[in-house]
Structures are given as structure tokens and as C-alpha cells.
């Protein structure tokens, strides 16, 4: 127990935890969207994220940015990040769509039991992870340093860095955009309709397959954005990067209430902070033990997560 360290660094741990948590939240949205509509846990979603990290690595390499490149000027960095986000979003979104097309849709057409979906999800995940592992020789790939970390201001006694601001602000912006899309647009209404009652929705003229493709694509795009933010933060990626992060993001989705968009946000941020405190208090190896204990405790009292399932409920 390292109480001294935690007491002296409360705000530091909160700030770094929120940064990590916003990445969890973005990935958690992918789990939650698919679950909300299909009642399916898409375990291959972690690999969609992994594809996104490699897409941004490739993009930056194509643009001539290696691990040793000096930090480019601010305007260019913005361009590089936006391009990488576009490419990663397309790559991850496409991967998610391919997974849906190859691993899930044929089963859905045959009305397979939900357990079978779980198996193909794990299978698709392994195929992607191992394929990338073989291609990149299972070596970590270093990212260029795009943002020179610079202290921006002090938040209580924690120093806040520009990278952290970029990550938290862009993650929140994307989540707000998604929230708007689901609640205010015609397509979003379709998603909610299919989530609520697929049969009535199709009777009303909603194309169910299209809506399902839409949610996979949306989840993939968000995972792609998360991947770029992760690359900015961590500075390297490996073929199995999705594994731990996927479990954490899934836990975040459950913590907040799976199927609930705002729940994914809350769960992600909370999990990031709890993990950090766990690691600070008991040492790094306890990070996941603590966060999953918290998950179990929360589920004991609120079995549907903090905010409950809601994508399909009338409340939205």
C-alpha cells in the first residue's frame, strides 16, 4: 500500500486516468452500439482497434514520418493527425464491416443461436491478431512523436499536458457527435427503432441489414479515432495491443450499462481513473485486479450497470 504516493498525486492520477479512460470510452462505444442493436458481444472489436493503430502507423510512414522524425510544426501536425484519423477510421470501419459480413451475417440469416456468434467473434479476433502478428514479425512498431509534450496549465496540483488535452477533448467531441447522430438524425432513429423492436422496425420500412452495417461502421470509425489517439499517447503499437484494451473497454461498457451510449462514456472514464488508483495504491500488477473488483461490486448493486441498458428503451 502506497498511500503517501496516492495522497500526494490524487490529481495527477485523475488526469492520466481520464486520458486513458477517454480512449476506453471510444472503444467501449463500439461494443455498446452492437450490443444495443443485436444483443451480441462483438469480441472482434478489439482487433478493429488494433487495425486502426497499424493504419495510422502506415499512414505516417507513407507521409515520411518515422520514429526518429523531429516534431513537425503545429499546423502540419494537425494535418497529419486528421489524415491519420481519416485513414484509420476508414480502415477500422472497413474491418468492422468485413467482420460483420463474413462472421456474423451468414449466421444471422440462418438464425444461429447466440453462443455460435460468440465463437465466431473469438475466431475472427484470433484470425486478425495472428495475421497482423505474422506480417509485422510480432515486433512493436514505434510511432513518430507528433506532439512535443508541454505542460499547459496546472489542474489543482496536477500538470496537464497538451497531449492529454487533445485526447480528452477530441474523444468528448466524437462522443457528442455520436450522441447527436443517434438521437437527432433519421439514421439514428432507425438505429433506435431496430434496437427497440427489429420486426416492427422492418414493418415500418427500416432496412435492418443496413442499420446493422451502419452500427458496425460507426463502432469501427470510433475505434479508428481511438487508435490514433492511443498512438499519440502511447507512441507504439503491437499486434496484440487490442487484447488488454479490448477487455478494459468491454468492462467499461458493462460498468456504464452496456447498450447505453452515455454509460460507455461514464464507464470508460471511471475505469481509467479506478485503474490508475489501483496501480498507484497497490503497485502496477494490481491495476486490473482492482478495476475488475470494482466492476463486480458495481454489478452486484446495479446488475445493468451504472446507467442501465437504454439504447432500445423509450427514454432516448
Amino acid at each position: 500500500m502506497n498511500i503517501d504516493f496516492v495522497v500526494n498525486n490524487v490529481w495527477e492520477l485523475i488526469v492520466t486516468g481520464l486520458t486513458q479512460g477517454s480512449i476506453y470510452a471510444l472503444v467501449a462505444l463500439g461494443y455498446t452500439l452492437v450490443y444495443g442493436v443485436l444483443k451480441l458481444i462483438n469480441f472482434a472489436h478489439s482487433e478493429v482497434f488494433m487495425v486502426g493503430t497499424f493504419a495510422s502507423w502506415l499512414t505516417w510512414n507513407w507521409l515520411g514520418l518515422g520514429v526518429d522524425t523531429k516534431v513537425p510544426p503545429m499546423v502540419q501536425v494537425l494535418g497529419y493527425v486528421v489524415i491519420a484519423m481519416a485513414v484509420a477510421a476508414v480502415a477500422a470501419g472497413a474491418t468492422a464491416l468485413v467482420i460483420e459480413r463474413v462472421a456474423y451475417r451468414p449466421l444471422r440469416k440462418r438464425n444461429a443461436p447466440s453462443l455460435i456468434f460468440l465463437i465466431t467473434a473469438i475466431g475472427a479476433s484470433l484470425v486478425l491478431m495472428e495475421a497482423v502478428g505474422i506480417i509485422v514479425d510480432r515486433q512493436p512498431r514505434g510511432m513518430p512523436r507528433l506532439v512535443q509534450p508541454a505542460a499547459q496549465f496546472d489542474f489543482f496540483d496536477a500538470t496537464v499536458y497538451n497531449v492529454q488535452i487533445v485526447i480528452v477533448v477530441s474523444a468528448l467531441a466524437m462522443m457528442a457527435a455520436l450522441d447527436f447522430f443517434i438521437k437527432r438524425t433519421k439514421w439514428g432513429r432507425g438505429v433506435r427503432a431496430v434496437a427497440q423492436n427489429p420486426e416492427t422496425a422492418s414493418l415500418m420500412g427500416v432496412n435492418r441489414d443496413r442499420i446493422i452495417m451502419l452500427i458496425f461502421a460507426l463502432g469501427g470509425i470510433l475505434a479508428g479515432f481511438a487508435a490514433v489517439l492511443y498512438c499519440l499517447k502511447v507512441g507504439s503499437t503491437t499486434y496484440d495491443v487490442g487484447f488488454n484494451l479490448g477487455i478494459a473497454a468491454f468492462a467499461a461498457a458493462v460498468l456504464g450499462g452496456i447498450g447505453n451510449l452515455r454509460g460507455a462514456l461514464l464507464g470508460g472514464l471511471l475505469l481509467g481513473v479506478v485503474e490508475n488508483f489501483g496501480a498507484g495504491l497497490f503497485g502496477n500488477p494490481w491495476r486490473q485486479v482492482v478495476s475488475f473488483l470494482v466492476l463486480v461490486l458495481v454489478l452486484l448493486f446495479r446488475p445493468n450497470g451504472i446507467l442501465g441498458e437504454s439504447l432500445g428503451r423509450a427514454r432516448v
Partner: protein
């Protein structure tokens, strides 16, 4: 009744067919080796050829390969083959490979296992089958005290590397405050514990990281708060590279010191030149360019690369085994006696083994290497005590 008869007859026929095919197989095999090579003895390489830490294994494999090539050029009528067992450096994958080595009676000795974790599970299997173990890289001290009769270590262990690294931190870097991390592996924890013990009160903090961890923000925050002069990392390059990158990203300037597990170019390509610059890597291995004779050139001709960490040690290890075979020690027991009593000059050091299989302390040299302009270059041999 009839059914039973058919079953019995069928079973007998099947068994007969199997025996016949096995015999055919054996005779064709025997014929082949007799034509090319009347001996057919083998030594095995055991270590990672794929996976995150593959480069260390490849260095060792190629060192051993060179020794075999030179031996076979001299003994065309009685060549020795190298069997490659790729463990991916993983303790989970090692036992079946060790069983396969033990079951092949033509394999007399092993260069390896390369890492300490896999050694712990593979060595009991190898040793109980009498296979001579001569590792060119596994440096956990406990390996020599586990009672494996055929274990030998052709280089210093972490009990020599750890204190030497600590002496370097204290005397050369003159660090007053040191933060120590390890990855809880046999190797990493062993090394970090040695460093902590030698540095004593200069250690102001420590933490444990996980294998395959990529995000170190909490740890970096902790290190930032502790503000050390130097950081010692007991572990491998896979975690070392991203850790170092994030450490520098957060503006921590403390010197990064790690052991031989992080001494590969992947540290620089993973963390970036700027982040890696000035890092110190210790290793009970002799720098390739300090090795005399034609070894560096021959190695490059064979593998297309300059000798890396442990290439020269592996070359020496393979040569000791080959000398034993050359002298007619063609059973595992005889070869083990030969290696245990062996005394002779290799290209890295003068070899002489203690009873527990450890190298004689006078033969052990630990070197410090430094990252300079994106290259790992020898700094100096760390003085003994």
C-alpha cells in the same frame, strides 16, 4: 463371434502394417544417413526464433550455426547437424520441445535454452534425459542451484551482472537516487533484486510492470514524482522500448539502465533515437568487435549481419560441444563429463566450469554499452567490485 474375429484380425493387420511401414521408414532413413554421413549426431538450438524477443535467439542460432559449418567443413565424413527448436521464448511452449529433444537420442547437447523462464521448465526434462545443456544467454542465478546435473552456463549470471550494473550506476553515473522496475519474470526480477541489494538506500522507489504492457502512464507519473537520477529496468526490450518512449515523452531525463534483455537495436527502433540516446545496457557478453580473429567476418558472411548480443558466446558454446564429439564422446553421459571438465580458451573468455555448471568467476566479464547516435556501442568493461 464373427464380428470379434474380424476386429481382432483387422487390428492385427493394422499393427503389422504399422510395423512394416516403420521398418521401411527406419531403413530408408538409415540408408540415407549412411550415404551422406556415418555419424548423424546432432546438437540442438533451443530459444526464440519468432516472437517479440526473437532477435536474441537468432543471434545465438547463427553463432552456433557458424561453429557447426566450420566443423562440418573439416569433418565431411562425420558431420553434426543443428536442430532448431523455436520456443518463441515462452515457458508455456518449451516443455514439448524439450521432450522432443530428449526423445531424439542422436541429439547429444543443447546450445540454450536461451531465456531463463523457459530454462526453468525445459532444463529438468533435458537434464533427466542426460542431454548436455550449455546456455549462452540464460542468466538467472537460480538455474545453477536447481540440481540439474547436465547444466552449464557459458557466461556470467545475473549475480555478476546485477551487482556490476549497480556499480556502474553508483560509480560511473554517480546516481544518488535510483528507481528500479522489473517485469516479474525469472530474469527481470532476478536482475532487479540484485541491483536493489547492491544499491541499498540509493533505491528510492520500485515497481513491477506486466509482460506485454504498453501503457505506462501511471508508472511514469510515479517516477516523475520520485524524480530519480537513474532508472534500472530488469526486463526485456518488448516493454523497455515503449516504456522508455513514454518516459521521455513525459519529460523524465533520468538515465535508463537495463540488462542484456533490452540490449538489441529494437530498443532504438521502438523508442526512437532521441529517447534511447544515452541509455546504458549491461551485458555479461563481450562486444563483437572486441573478439579477435576472423569470427566477426565469418559470422557476417554466414548470416548477412554483424554479430549481435550472444553470437560469440553461442559460437563458443557450440564449439565446446563439438570438441567433445570430435574427441569421441558420442554419448550424452560422456559428452557431459567432457564439458564439465573442459578447460580452454574460446573467443569470448577462458572457459572452466565450476561443479554447479557456473563459469569460473575469474572468467566472467560484464560490459556496459551505451546508446550513441542511435547505435549500441561498447562503453567499458565494468570493474570487478
Amino acid at each position: 463371434m464373427r464380428q470379434r474375429f474380424v476386429r481382432v484380425a483387422g487390428g492385427a493387420a493394422l499393427a503389422a502394417a504399422m510395423v512394416a511401414s516403420a521398418a521401411a521408414c527406419a531403413s530408408s532413413n538409415g540408408g540415407e544417413t549412411a550415404a551422406a554421413n556415418k555419424c548423424g549426431y546432432k546438437i540442438a538450438f533451443f530459444g526464440a526464433l519468432t516472437g517479440g524477443n526473437a532477435i536474441l535467439g537468432i543471434n545465438i542460432r547463427d553463432g552456433a550455426k557458424l561453429a557447426l559449418k566450420q566443423y562440418n567443413d573439416k569433418h565431411k565424413d562425420c558431420t553434426v547437424d543443428l536442430v532448431e527448436k523455436d520456443s518463441e521464448g515462452s515457458a508455456e511452449k518449451a516443455p514439448p520441445l524439450a521432450t522432443a529433444v530428449a526423445g531424439d537420442s542422436k541429439i547429444l547437447g543443447v546450445v540454450g535454452p536461451a531465456f531463463s523462464g523457459e530454462s526453468k521448465v525445459a532444463n529438468p526434462i533435458l537434464s533427466s534425459a542426460g542431454v548436455v545443456i550449455l546456455t549462452a544467454s540464460a542468466t538467472n542465478p537460480a538455474l545453477a542451484t536447481s540440481g540439474w546435473k547436465t547444466f552449464h552456463r557459458g557466461l556470467g549470471n545475473d549475480a555478476s551482472q546485477g551487482p556490476a550494473a549497480a556499480r556502474y550506476i553508483k560509480n560511473t553515473l554517480k546516481a544518488q537516487k535510483v528507481f528500479v522496475i522489473d517485469d516479474a519474470s525469472e530474469y527481470g526480477k532476478g536482475l532487479a533484486d540484485q541491483v536493489k541489494q547492491t544499491l541499498g538506500t540509493a533505491v528510492i522507489g520500485s515497481d513491477v510492470i506486466q509482460e506485454k504492457q504498453t501503457d505506462f502512464s501511471a508508472l511514469v507519473a510515479k517516477i516523475q514524482a520520485a524524480n530519480p537520477d537513474a532508472i534500472f529496468h530488469g526486463g526485456y526490450v518488448r516493454e523497455g522500448a515503449p516504456f522508455l518512449k513514454q518516459l521521455r515523452g513525459a519529460g523524465v531525463k533520468a538515465t535508463y539502465v537495463a540488462g542484456d534483455g533490452a540490449k538489441t537495436d529494437d530498443l532504438i527502433s521502438g523508442a526512437g533515437k532521441d529517447s534511447a540516446e544515452g541509455s546504458i545496457l549491461t551485458c555479461p557478453c563481450v562486444p563483437g568487435d572486441k573478439v579477435e580473429g576472423s569470427f566477426p567476418a565469418d559470422y557476417k558472411a554466414l548470416s548477412g549481419r554483424d554479430p549481435g548480443t550472444y553470437s560469440a558466446e553461442a559460437y563458443d558454446a557450440a564449439n565446446i560441444l563439438l570438441k567433445g564429439i570430435e574427441a569421441g564422446n558420442t554419448t550424452r553421459a560422456k559428452l557431459n563429463d567432457f564439458v564439465s571438465k573442459y578447460e580452454g580458451q574460446g573467443i569470448t573468455t577462458k572457459f572452466k566450469f565450476q561443479d554447479n555448471g557456473e563459469l569460473d568467476p575469474n572468467s566472467v566479464a560484464v560490459w556496459a554499452y551505451i546508446v550513441k547516435n542511435g547505435q549500441i556501442v561498447p562503453d567499458k568493461e565494468i570493474p570487478k567490485a
